[in-house]
């Protein structure tokens, strides 16, 4: 396979004060794949994601996204890249003072000159994709958790990005809604030909959607490859991660 690399991370080092969070992490994400970053709580998954978004600057190392080195770029240089990246935050992060439609049209109004009826069409279409046609004039506070998450996906998708990030997309959702969200993610990948990076500890969801994954623990990548390959790993931390989560599923279901 000779796929185009979308994200390349080389020897990334980052720390909070004296604590090293990530130590020399390297991985590559290819075009049109769903790539998962796994790990227990507090292992630095979200920190890694914030680096990939350019919200944090690493201590050392190289991050290249869509062939563009973001470690040294300033905000102005990041601008064209940001229009090609969508991000769905853990708590959806919709703007509470605006209706759903206004939330979703925000990037369009900031970056384009489209007349308002065109923007309205695009927004309604994105809402339709995530199944929220009826909710366009609701305020975020009036929505359930699952609806907020779907609205956040619609907002992330509105500029037709090439790359979509998800932070803990199943947190706080019931299993049915989580499965629905997974279906939406797979559909987006298949129909729109985008690359998806998912940061999570939800193994059920990852088994459903991911092509490849890395697992982070103790500041290092301890396993990588498809979930099947990872399950063959001999590292005790990887085994215990799978064991714990499978046990948890047995307990819950």
């Amino acid at each position: 396979m000779n796929k185009k690399a979308i994200i390349e991370v080389k020897d990334l080092v980052t720390s909070y004060e004296d604590n090293i969070v990530l130590d020399k992490i390297s991985f590559t994400t290819y075009e049109n794949e769903i790539f998962a970053v796994l790990g227990g709580s507090g292992c630095g998954k979200t920190t890694l994601l914030r680096h990939l978004l350019g919200l944090l600057r690493p201590d050392a190392g190289l991050i290249s996204i869509l062939g563009f080195d973001i470690t040294k770029a300033n905000d102005d240089e990041m601008q064209p890249l940001r229009e090609q990246i969508g991000m769905v935050f853990q708590g959806a992060a919709l703007f509470n003072s605006m209706t759903l439609a206004e939330n979703i049209s925000l990037p369009l109004e900031e970056y384009t000159d489209y007349p308002s009826r065109v923007i309205r069409d695009i927004v309604d279409w994105k809402l339709h994709i995530v199944g929220l046609d009826h909710a366009r004039d609701y305020m975020p506070a009036e929505l359930s958790g699952g609806m907020k998450k779907r609205a956040a996906i619609a907002r992330a998708m509105v500029m037709d990005p090439k790359l979509l990030f998800f932070d803990e997309h199943t947190t706080g959702l019931d299993p049915v809604m989580a499965a629905e969200l997974d279906r939406i993610i797979i559909r987006l990948r298949n129909e729109l030909n985008i690359t998806v990076v998912v940061v999570t500890h939800d193994l059920t969801s990852i088994r459903r959607i991911s092509d490849r994954a890395i697992m982070i623990a103790d500041t290092q990548i301890i396993a990588s490859g498809s979930i099947k390959e990872m399950e063959q790993s001999s590292d005790s931390r990887v085994i215990s991660f799978f064991m714990k989560h499978d046990k948890e599923e047995v307990l819950i279901h």
Partner: protein, 364 residues
Amino acid sequence: MSQHIIHISSEFNISEGDSHFKKLRSEKNSNVMVDCAAISVWPSSITAFLADFLKKLDSRNITWSLNNIPEGSLKTINFMIYRKPAATHLIRKNEIPIVDNTLSWVVTSWHNIVATIKLLEDITFWTLLGPFFKHGFRYSRTLFEISERGMRSIGIVALVSGIMGLVLAIQAAAQLQTFGASIYIANLVSMAIVRELGPLLAALLIAGRCGSAITAELGSMVASEEMDALRAMGVSVTKYIVVPKFVALCIALPCLTIFADVIGMAGGYLFSVFQLGIPSSHYIDQTIQAISANDVMIGLIKSIADAVIIASIAVHQGLTTSGGAEGIGRSTTRSVVHSIIFIALAHLFFTILFYFTGHTLSFN
């Protein structure tokens, strides 16, 4: 040596355990069997009481055994008795000596001031140059903020400044009447209100009413990752969120100041005319003679400075909020307290400045 048997029921508690323990010690028993057959339900309290009792037995080297106890409860009791304290890696830096504490306070304050000034640079850029960019300035949002911050504060500003004018006139009357100089109440009230009290009252009220609201709003946006979402979309937080609020305060506060001036003087007028019987036209004439455009401008300059102080401190505190709900509370408090301190300092600065430049500006 014979084995002592204790039967316990679901009524077992610490004092019962103690009495058993005392009895065992006095009888010099060294072997006890606790029979739990009478207990059908095992709440954690009974397990904990029992574990506590058994620990005491252990401390006196009395060997014990348990009879008729369900496996789960036995496990719990074993955990309670024999667990090792969990290793903790947390080292909290609490005990900082006072000197160090003061030093760190100075350092943080300095960092805060520097950060606020940097923020002001950014705000100034977007306020002045934003309108020339595509989507650089949010006019409708700014209008909304003006109405939200300014219009809705009119009531409280009117109330407080009216009362202050009245109070000022009453206090002045008590002093000036003894010299038969009641008419100078007009001078005193109008000068005090226009030059100092009007701007000060409006600023303090806005710091309390709007500064806190702005900090809380921005703080909760930070907490719910909305700011990160904006940054990830590549939309400038300063441009999109901060500048409308900043411009709204800079427009609303001077307006409110003029309003407070008028209402405050009206308060003085009411008392003087209706209580002291000074002729209405006389009082108005005296007021007009007393104040000049100069005084009003001095008041306005102060109020613009206040608006900049309130807005920049509120925004800085809001954007640097960390630590969830508690953090929002903390930064809101800090926002109001710092605003009030810096408002007082700014008024001191301008008053001294105008004192040494002879109370005048080159406006007339």
